[in-house]
Symmetry: C2
């Protein structure tokens, strides 16, 4: 991915995140990407390709923003992830998760569905790893999905609630620890005190 390609992808992501996936026509996308129409089509030969490019660009940006330099202690990491998602929503995703938005705008496009699935499963896997909760991928994903969807409605209260649910989950998990059947882990159960995550 050369420099101009990066510029285009960043512009596409910004345009779709700001105005949704239906509203911006190709000329608006061109404007956001700051290239000529011909160049835009050279790299992404159809509007659908532009959507995919924007999502792949965002995936990289999101993952690095959420998971870079997390605290080593797993409860601190989970807490920090929730906080970062809150900041992400505020600064970058006021309209909600871009992947869900893309699928919502074109629910019959299988490529988008697959991208959504990959994005969310990778997120869940990495979060379960960082939070020291192998086997709880789905619960963690559910909390974060709930946070992202209710943030536009409840604002920071959604963050607080996510923290409380995470704390409750840690207590619960502490009593009924599961091995990790999904990620091919070695079955070792990580247990640590849970008092660190507080509302």
């Amino acid at each position: 991915m050369n420099e101009i390609q990066t510029r285009i992808a960043a512009g596409l992501e910004r345009a779709f995140a700001t105005h949704g996936f239906s509203a911006p026509n190709v000329d608006r996308l061109r404007e956001a990407a700051q290239v000529s129409l011909r160049t835009l089509y050279r790299y992404y030969p159809s509007r659908d390709d532009m959507v995919l490019a924007a999502l792949e660009f965002r995936h990289e940006r999101y993952m690095s923003r959420i998971f870079s330099d997390l605290p080593a202690l797993s409860q601190d990491a989970l807490c920090e992830v929730i906080r970062r998602i809150g900041h992400w929503m505020e600064s970058e995703a006021a309209h909600g998760c871009l992947f869900h938005s893309a699928v919502a705008a074109a629910p019959e496009n299988p490529a988008l569905k697959q991208l959504l699935r990959r994005h969310k499963l990778e997120f869940a896997r990495r979060l379960a790893g960082a939070a020291g909760l192998p086997g709880y991928e789905t619960e963690l994903l559910l909390i974060c999905e709930g946070l992202m969807q209710s943030w536009p409605i409840c604002g920071d209260k959604a963050c607080d609630s996510a923290m409380r649910l995470a704390a409750a989950l840690l207590v619960h998990a502490d009593g009924t620890a599961r091995g990790n059947a999904d990620t091919g882990g070695n079955g070792t159960v990580v247990r640590q005190p849970t008092e660190r995550i507080t509302p």
Copy 2:
């Protein structure tokens, strides 16, 4: 709302739920509503009005489906709501929550945002009431939002996870019960045994 108006709204809801909010043009909507173009426009003078009509119709249907005839015991009610949401996803919302989809398709339409907000807040309020957890509206909303968003990805595992989170929340709430500051309740804290909701 007379008979023909109901038929139109039901058809619109079905069309948008099946194909999303961008794909169906007005002629497809007319086909789904089984009326003439002129009649369709008589009741809903623009496509945007058709979207709003579909959402209002779905709101009524969803609320009655989720909250009708719930068990009296509050933990059973919460459990049953989660189960019903799972069935709803399976039978009616394979593409995810229709209200979020509508906002995602047109994020700059304030009427849609307001409708989403009203829908979700009413849902949260009624659920907190039915679950005997006044003051926990946001946590309950977060769980259900997470369930609806992760269901298309994780299927029934999302239901199981939502049950576990609800159980964990009940344990947590039992120790730190809050009054209900949001719904104008009388401050009485409802406490009941929590063992009834199990994964």
